[in-house]
C-alpha cells in the first residue's frame, strides 16, 4: 500500500495530475486555488514539464487549447470568477473535440463574492456556462483523496472522449489537508504511449506521416449544413458519455429509507454525518451522492425511491441549482425539498437533520 501523506486538496490534485502524465499546466493565481498553481510552479520543472503563469485566465485557457491541440495532457485551474473568464475558451475546446482538464476550486459568488467554499457554479459547470451546445464531463469530489483520484480519471475520460473535463471542487476541499495515497507515476513507456495516443488527429508529425502533415484544430464550420453534422456528432458523443460514465455513491440506501438525500461534494460530507446521527437515533435515511454531476445519475435517484420514502431532500451550498436535476430525476413522484446555504458558509449536520425531519421551524 502506498504511503499516506497529509496534504491540501489543491496540492494533492496537482501531484496526482503530474503522476497521471500531465506535463503542461497554464493558469493564473486566484484564492482559494493558489496552492495548486504554486505546486505546479515548483514541481513541473522537476519532471521536465511546462509551467506558465499566464497573463490572465483567458490566456491560460487558450494556452490549454493550443497545447491540447498538440495531443498532450494539459490542465488549468482557477476559482469561480476566473472560471467565468474561461467560458469562451472552454466552448472552443469542446467545439474542437479536444481533451483538457479544468479544475474549479469554487468560492462564494456572484461577482467578487468572497473566498470561502461554495457550490454556486453548478449550473455553469453542468449546463454550459459558455455558448452553444456542449457538455463538460464534471466530476465532484468530496474528500481530498477523491479530489486527487479524479485527476487521473479526468485525464482518462478527457482522452477517451476528446472532451474537456472539469473537476468541480470548492475552497474547503482545496484548502483542507487530509491523508491521501497516490497512484504510482506513469512509467516511461506509459508516458510515451500517452504522447502518441492522439497522433491521428493532433498537430505534430507522427511516425506514419513524418513529412507532410495537415491536421486542423478548429471549432468553426461556416457552412450550416456541415456545422449541423458536427453538432449532431457532438450530441451523439454526449449521449454515449451519459450512457457510460455516470458515477455516484449510494450511502445508507435501503428499503427502510424514509427520506432520500441528494448532495454532492462538500455538502455531501456534512449530510453524511447528519444521516449517521439519524441512523443512530433510529431513522433510516439514504443518500445518493452524484460523483459525476454531468452526466447526471437521474436513474440512480429514481431507482432508490422505495416505497417508504416520503420525500427527497437536496442539500447544496447555493440558492438551489442541482435541485432542478433532482426534480427531473424524481419526475413528480415525490416532493423534493431544498436546503441551501450561501455566502461561503457551511451548514451544520443539525440543520440538515432538521430539514430531513421537517423540524426546521422549531
Amino acid at each position: 500500500m502506498a504511503e499516506k501523506i497529509l496534504m491540501k486538496g489543491n496540492e494533492a490534485v496537482a501531484e496526482a495530475a503530474i503522476r497521471a502524465g500531465c506535463r503542461l499546466y497554464f493558469a493564473y493565481p486566484i484564492t482559494p486555488q493558489s496552492e495548486l498553481i504554486e505546486y505546479m510552479a515548483k514541481m513541473m520543472p522537476k519532471v521536465d514539464g511546462v509551467f506558465v503563469q499566464a497573463e490572465s485566465e483567458v490566456a491560460a485557457i487558450n494556452m490549454v487549447y493550443g497545447a491540447s491541440g498538440t495531443g498532450r495532457r494539459v490542465m488549468t485551474s482557477s476559482s469561480s470568477p476566473g472560471i467565468s473568464l474561461k467560458m469562451e475558451g472552454i466552448s472552443y475546446i469542446a467545439g474542437a473535440n479536444l481533451p483538457a482538464v479544468i479544475v474549479n476550486v469554487q468560492r462564494g459568488g456572484p461577482g467578487l463574492g468572497d473566498i470561502q467554499p461554495a457550490q454556486g457554479d453548478y449550473f455553469q459547470a453542468t449546463k454550459g456556462g459558455g455558448h452553444g451546445d456542449y457538455r463538460l464531463i464534471v466530476l465532484a469530489p468530496s474528500t481530498v483523496q477523491e479530489f486527487a483520484d479524479m485527476a487521473d480519471l479526468a485525464f482518462d475520460l478527457a482522452d477517451k472522449y476528446r472532451n474537456p473535463v472539469m473537476i468541480l471542487s470548492d475552497g474547503l476541499l482545496g484548502q483542507m489537508m487530509e491523508p491521501v495515497e497516490f497512484k504510482p507515476s506513469k512509467t516511461k513507456e506509459e508516458m510515451e504511449a500517452l504522447d502518441k495516443q492522439h497522433y491521428d488527429w493532433c498537430m505534430y508529425p507522427n511516425e506514419d506521416e513524418p513529412n507532410h502533415h495537415h491536421h486542423e484544430i478548429n471549432s468553426l464550420e461556416i457552412d450550416p449544413l456541415i456545422l449541423e453534422q458536427h453538432v449532431i456528432k457532438l450530441g451523439k458523443k454526449y449521449d454515449k458519455i451519459e450512457k457510460n460514465e455516470i458515477r455516484y455513491e449510494e450511502y445508507n440506501i435501503s428499503d427502510e429509507n424514509e427520506v432520500v438525500v441528494v448532495a454532492f461534494g462538500t455538502a455531501a460530507r456534512i449530510a453524511k454525518s447528519a444521516i449517521d446521527q439519524l441512523q443512530e437515533e433510529g431513522t433510516s435515511i439514504g443518500m445518493i451522492r452524484p460523483i459525476t454531476v454531468w452526466p447526471y445519475p437521474y436513474e440512480a435517484i429514481s431507482n432508490v425511491l422505495h416505497e417508504k420514502v416520503r420525500k427527497v431532500v437536496v442539500c447544496e451550498l447555493n440558492l438551489g441549482q442541482m435541485v432542478e436535476d433532482v426534480k427531473l430525476a424524481v419526475n413528480g413522484k415525490l416532493p423534493v425539498e431544498f436546503l441551501g446555504k450561501v455566502g461561503g458558509i457551511l451548514f451544520t449536520p443539525d440543520e440538515i437533520k432538521a430539514k430531513i425531519l421537517g423540524t426546521e421551524g422549531e
Partner: protein, 179 residues
Amino acid sequence: MKTEIISSGFGGQGALTIGKFLAKAGMGDGLNVSWLPSYGPEMRGGTANVSVVIADRAIASPLVSYPDILIALNQPSIDKFGSDIKEKGLLIYNTDMCPHGTKRKDIDVIEAPMNSIAREIGSMKVLNMVAIGIVIGKTGLVKYETLENDLTGFLQKKNPDLLELNLIAIKKGIEIGKK
C-alpha cells in the same frame, strides 16, 4: 471517538503548525484526520486559526464550530472562540498574551506562560510546541512517539538544533498537561 480542535493565534505564533503536527500525528496513529485553515485577506495582521479533527471514523465536516479543545495563543483567540468550546471541553491558553483569560467555569482550563517558557528554552519558535505538549499531556490524543518521529523526519537534516529545542518544549508541555 472524535476530537475537534481549534488552534488560534497571531500570524507568526505558529497556530497553524500546531494543527498540522497534531493532524499528522493522528494520521500516524492510524486515525482519520482533517486540517482546515482559515484563509483570506482578513488574516493580514489579524488572527490565524485552524480547525483540526481527529476521529476513528470518516470525518464529515472538517470545519470546527464547537471545539472540544481550543488552543489560544493570544487573547483575541479566546474572545473569538472561547464561548464556542463545548461544555466540559478544554481551553489551553498562553497567559503571556491573554491578559483577560476566560470567565467560563464549565470547561477545563490549562494556563501556561508559553512565551516565557519558549524564551527559557531558547527560541520563540518553539512556543507552539509547548501547546502541543500540553494537549498530549492532558488528553493523550496522539502519541508522543509518533509526533517525535514526524518532527525528526522533518527537522533532523534541516535543523537538528531546533529539533532538540522542539522536543524539549513538547516535553515541558506534557509535564504541564499532566499536572
